[in-house]
């Protein structure tokens, strides 16, 4: 039961990541391959503030999200200038840079040793330690993320985002400031990814750079593709299915030296098969080319 709840908490954290990435890549059509970098920044900010300054995780979570949003501006800047696979490569490169800073800035992040003993959340002095407490917290943030992003994409602002994806020159011709829209999308997406990273850090109570590799960004992207671009429900389904599915391998009693690469192989194969056979994902309707 504990284990099942744990899987649900992890799936909930991934829901925040997939829905926020879907805003960037699905709705606006900007290929961002460095989403894990934002959650890395959020996780490290919140953890370091809690460990070194004794700041409450609630405040740290918010500051972490804001710092991730600031880094979203840094990533959004190339997005204004580059397109398609060049942008994918640039965001990918920024993902590697953030990962390698987390790994090499040993005096701050303790590098590959990671940060142990990150405090959990507390409410009115009462320490939250049960897993279901965290399930409620994560579910709350899932709700906020889905609510905010749903409002964004169903607003006039969201229609401009779709028009940027379909034909940027046409939306420029209609007097829309596409660069500003792209930048805002990156800021919002990065903010939620930063929150997700903070939640992860305070839940697991230990983080190290290996949780935020570029491979992690690809897994988040796979979840978005699996559920379907431009489908928030799809992103939720994608996150849950692709977190739960590899856990099945454990029930066959596989040692982790086999289960770990097998899990990655499933992800790789799924990515290729989806792109060739069903690019709109299981729930989406939008066929991207």
């Amino acid at each position: 039961m504990e284990y099942l709840l744990h899987i649900l908490v992890i799936a909930g954290i991934y829901i925040i990541l997939t829905v926020s990435l879907n805003l960037i890549i699905g709705f606006t059509g900007l290929p961002a391959l460095g989403h894990a970098a934002f959650s890395c920044i959020g996780a490290y900010t919140s953890s370091l503030l809690a460990l070194n300054l004794g700041l409450s995780p609630w405040v740290g979570l918010f500051i972490g999200g804001c710092l991730a949003a600031v880094s979203g501006i840094v990533v959004g800047y190339p997005a204004v200038r580059l397109k398609g696979d060049y942008l994918a490569l640039a965001t990918f490169g920024l993902g590697v840079i953030v990962y390698s800073i987390a790994k090499n800035w040993v005096s701050l992040t303790r590098g590959p040793m990671g940060l142990p003993g990150i405090p959990g959340f507390s409410v009115f002095g009462y320490q939250l330690s049960e897993i279901w407490h965290y399930l409620i917290i994560v579910a709350f943030f899932d709700f906020v993320t889905v609510f905010v992003i749903n409002r964004i994409v169903n607003s006039p602002f969201g229609r401009v985002l779709r028009s940027i994806r379909e034909d940027e020159v046409a939306s420029l011709a209609l007097g829309k400031d596409t660069n500003r829209h792209k930048l805002i999308v990156f800021i919002v997406g990065a903010f939620f990814a930063g929150i997700a990273g903070g939640l992860y850090a305070h839940y697991i109570t230990f983080i190290d750079p290996s949780s935020f590799t570029v491979m992690e960004s690809i897994v988040i992207l796979l979840m978005v593709i699996f559920g379907g671009m431009e489908s928030i429900e799809g992103s939720i389904v994608g996150a849950v299915v692709l977190v739960v599915l590899p856990e099945m391998l454990r029930f066959f009693g596989m040692p982790s030296s086999i289960a770990a690469p097998l899990r990655q192989m499933i992800y790789g194969l799924l990515l290729v098969v989806l792109i060739i056979k069903r690019p709109q994902g299981v729930m989406g309707t939008y066929r991207w080319r």
């Binding site: 060049y86 840079i97 992800y267 290729v272």
Partner: protein
């Protein structure tokens, strides 16, 4: 110290240049980022390793010169087949559908993850070595040390670069490849089958990746994740040199190797990757057409 860093940079640079060359040969005809090129490189090294280990288990502690030749041949041939297979099974259906470059990039990422983890499943995640004898002391050269293997790497890569240049510039097939690269439709009109040229590009490019993988396995150890860094450096080298340009790939490779190795003069070696990617971002933003490339429509907006 400076000389040593320059030599290390040149060796790393020649490996980067080989990978970038293979990548560029493929890029020129298909115009997308073939990331799975990195795993073709890994596969070459592992195939050669398997053949060497097999001979050791059969014939004791020595591998004959012929045995090494067979191992190298199997490695190169295996990577060639793998590269062509990836094209046929994954890229061909996408090409039929007229998919965007981004779709190709993501598909090749999937192939990369799949094969890398397949290798890890078979051989395990640990570091392996292909070398059999004790490590020989290197030669001294202006106060720096260079080993025989490193000289081999430099010589082989320079020879291959020259051969490839001659092939592309002087032969009829090379001319056809340049034609498809410049304008696939017009090339088709004058009777060049683009699918055939794509096939040949994947074969040559993947063979080069195999050579690079085998060379690096003589110099250092091999591990399943080695292809990831290699292809990223190869792509960075190609972009720095000018994407699609063959001299650019060579120049970019050596440039990247030297800057990485000279850059760590003052700071720790762990920052090498950061240096490489900062160079990539700078080039993507300020000069996306690279050092030797020409500015085109695609790169300007």
């Amino acid at each position: 110290m400076l000389w040593q860093l320059i030599i290390n940079g040149a060796i790393a640079g020649s490996i980067y240049a080989l990978i970038a060359l293979g990548f560029t040969i493929i890029y020129r005809t298909v115009k997308f980022f073939h990331l799975a090129h990195g795993v073709v490189y890994t596969a070459g090294a592992y195939l050669a390793y398997t053949v060497v280990r097999y001979q050791l288990s059969v014939a004791g502690d020595q591998v004959s010169v012929l045995g090494w030749m067979i191992a190298i041949f199997v490695g190169i041939f295996g990577s060639t087949i793998l590269g062509v297979l990836i094209d046929r099974l994954v890229y061909y259906p996408l090409r039929k559908r007229n998919a965007s470059n981004l779709i190709f990039l993501l598909a090749s990422f999937g192939v990369f993850i799949f094969i890398q983890n397949l290798i890890q499943l078979i051989y395990g995640a640990q570091i392996l070595t292909i070398r059999t004898g004790p490590v020989k002391e290197g030669r001294h050269f202006f106060g720096a040390v260079i080993t025989d293997v490193q000289i081999l790497i430099l010589v082989v890569s320079v020879v291959l670069m020259v051969l490839l240049w001659v092939f592309i510039q002087k032969t009829k097939l090379g001319k056809a490849m340049r034609a498809v690269s410049d304008d696939p439709v017009a090339a088709n009109v004058v009777g060049i089958n683009p699918e055939k040229i794509i096939f040949i590009s994947f074969a040559i490019g993947s063979a080069l990746a195999g050579v690079a993988g085998i060379l690096i396995s003589f110099e250092t150890n091999i591990e399943p994740t080695m292809g990831f860094n290699a292809i990223l450096k190869g792509i960075i080298a190609s972009i720095v040199g000018g994407i699609g340009s063959i001299p650019g790939a060579v120049l970019g490779g050596f440039f990247l190797g030297l800057v990485e190795n000279l850059g760590i003069w003052g700071i720790q070696a762990g920052w090498k990757d950061t240096i490489a990617f900062v160079i990539l971002i700078i080039f993507l933003l300020l000069r996306p057409w690279g050092l030797l490339g020409t500015r085109t429509e695609r790169e300007t907006i």
